[in-house]
């Protein structure tokens, strides 16, 4: 070896020796850091898990927007599919913006047993620190979780009014629904308002979300009128079958999946074994109610019509889900089955009933969300002994009147100012061509 080579080898060995001697010191530092990292207190851990629950169940509920979009896209005719998709992505976005601008604080800030909160922009505020009883969570995670709920309520309305409502007037209605109507009635209960002090109970929103959407949809359907040709003089009904059963089915499965977030996240906490048990129970009850709704709807349509109607089976799943939403924790699996099954029966019986009344609900949102929302809310005392039918009825009726009246006024105002219905020619041509300028299926010729 050359002289230089020998020097380099010596230097290298010396360096290694220094490293070896100082290794114990490094190891000690790593150990100390490791101990600090794992020294989370119990309230801190609860804070993290609570936040995680809101965020993860929240994005499950966000995906329900895709579920509604696909369900509606599948149940409308081809010439209106692009419009339905447009309405769904628009209303989800508007809901998020309105809930920041005014909705959240109107619903939650300073309600104190009253009727509404404060009109102000919402902002992140984690200055309270970590609650020592393990109930804390990131303020943004709560805003996020509540925001996806108001978006769900708004999307209920778009299904009923499909195929003949103009886009922008519908979105104007959505602005008020998500910024004012929903937050005010939500304040009465979840915001700590007067209803909550009466003992009304609505765990995840059979009334607050689903019936609210349902009432708004019903009022809209009454003011808007049925599709041209849907009802024939003398009592006949002309069905207008949807364009894609696979999309409708996909949408329903997505909604079913998202509902685990919708109900599960409404436990609002995951910081303890008890809360973990609760969320798990909520998941299985939710699933059972949906399953029972499907089977009940299938059996009943087979009995009544000698054929199973896929669209009724899909509605049956959603009916079960809406029905269990008011109380997904207290029931046993058997009760969840019963509650969901009755929801399925309600939907099969009330869809034709709406047609008899000449109320044109394209996707069955009123039977699913309004009627089953009422059923689910009234059924709570059957499994939850801390509630009573009188308080439940008070909630159903007061919120019903409030949402129905404000929606009706709003729809009428829109109808007599900017107009809400497209022209007859536009309706025949299809809203895709008329208002969106983009056809959903440009390569297929449509009758």
């Amino acid at each position: 070896m050359t002289k230089t080579g020998r020097y380099i080898r010596l230097a290298g060995m010396a360096g290694l020796a220094v490293l070896a001697m100082s290794a114990p010191a490094f190891a000690q530092e790593v150990e100390e850091v490791a101990e600090e990292a794992f020294a989370l207190s119990a309230p801190d851990t609860a804070y993290v898990f609570n936040t995680l629950l809101f965020l993860m169940t929240g994005f499950l509920v966000m995906f329900m927007a895709a579920g509604f979009a696909m369900l509606e896209a599948g149940l409308v005719r081809s010439k209106n599919v692009a419009m339905q998709c447009t309405k769904n992505i628009a209303l989800y976005s508007i809901a998020g913006i309105m809930y920041y601008l005014v909705g959240y604080n109107l619903m939650y800030s300073g309600v104190d047993g009253g009727y509404f909160g404060s009109i102000s922009l919402w902002g992140v505020d984690d200055s309270g620190g970590v609650a020592s009883d393990g109930s804390g969570y990131a303020s943004a995670s709560d805003w996020y979780f509540q925001m996806v709920f108001v978006a769900t309520a708004a999307s209920i309305v778009s299904g009923t009014l499909a195929e003949r409502i103009k886009l922008w007037p519908f979105l104007v209605f959505t602005v008020f629904l998500t910024g004012v109507i929903y937050p005010i009635q939500g304040a009465w209960q979840w915001g700590g308002g007067w209803l909550s002090e009466l003992g009304f109970s609505d765990f995840a929103g059979s009334t607050l979300v689903h019936s609210t959407g349902g009432w708004a949809a019903l009022m809209g359907a009454l003011v808007l009128g049925p599709r041209i040709g849907k009802y024939v003089k003398g009592g006949g009904v002309n069905p207008m079958p949807g364009s894609s059963m696979p999309l409708a089915t996909l949408g329903t499965f997505i909604l079913w999946l998202g509902w685990f977030g919708f109900n599960g996240g409404s436990e609002l906490a995951l910081g303890s074994p008890d809360e973990a048990n609760a969320v798990a129970t909520i998941f299985i009850n939710t699933n059972m109610a949906a399953a029972a709704g499907v089977v009940a709807a299938m059996m009943l349509t087979q009995l009544l019509y000698k054929k199973v109607d896929i669209t009724m089976a899909l509605n049956g799943a959603l009916a079960g889900l809406v029905s269990i939403t008011a109380e997904p924790l207290a029931p046993t699996l058997g009760w969840a089955l019963a509650i969901g099954a009755i929801g399925g029966v309600i939907v099969v019986l009330t869809v034709p009933l709406l047609d008899k009344l000449r109320i044109d609900d394209v996707v069955g949102a009123i039977p699913v969300h309004l009627f089953c929302g009422i059923w689910g809310t009234m059924a709570v005392p059957l499994t939850n002994a801390d509630t009573n039918f009188s308080a439940q009825a008070t909630g159903v009726i007061s919120i019903g009147i409030f949402v129905a009246v404000t929606s009706l006024v709003l729809w009428l105002a829109l109808r007599f100012t900017i107009g809400i219905r497209c022209s007859e020619e536009e309706e025949m041509m299809g809203l895709d061509k008329a208002e969106i300028g983009v056809e959903a299926y440009p390569e297929f010729t449509v009758r």
């Binding site: 009904v237 002309n238 069905p239 079958p241 009544l304 019509y305 054929k307 109607d309 669209t311 009724m312 099969v348 869809v351 034709p352 047609d355 069955g364």
Partner: protein
Amino acid sequence: MKLVMAIIKPFKLDEVREALTAIGVQGLTVTEVKGYGRQKGQTEIYRGAEYAVNFLPKLKIEVVVATDQADSVVSAISGAAKTGQIGDGKIFVISVEQVLRIRTGETDAEAL
């Protein structure tokens, strides 16, 4: 020259095509159509509302052949398309005045 136009049940297409190939027919045109004759439609139910589906899916086959071939084409199609159930369809024979092959400019008999 004759245009033989046949309305048949959709699932009979392959059999009819094979029967025509067997007698030397070299091309045909198929269109999806809806129609009814004396066969009534069916009743369907969508979300609790009954409706009559009067127009049933059929296929229209059109083939242009030399006049002396028309009869064998008619019997080939009717033999292959028949099921014996109502709704089997009908065959029409129409006179053709002129035929032109676009690629080569051949007319009438050479264009068939």
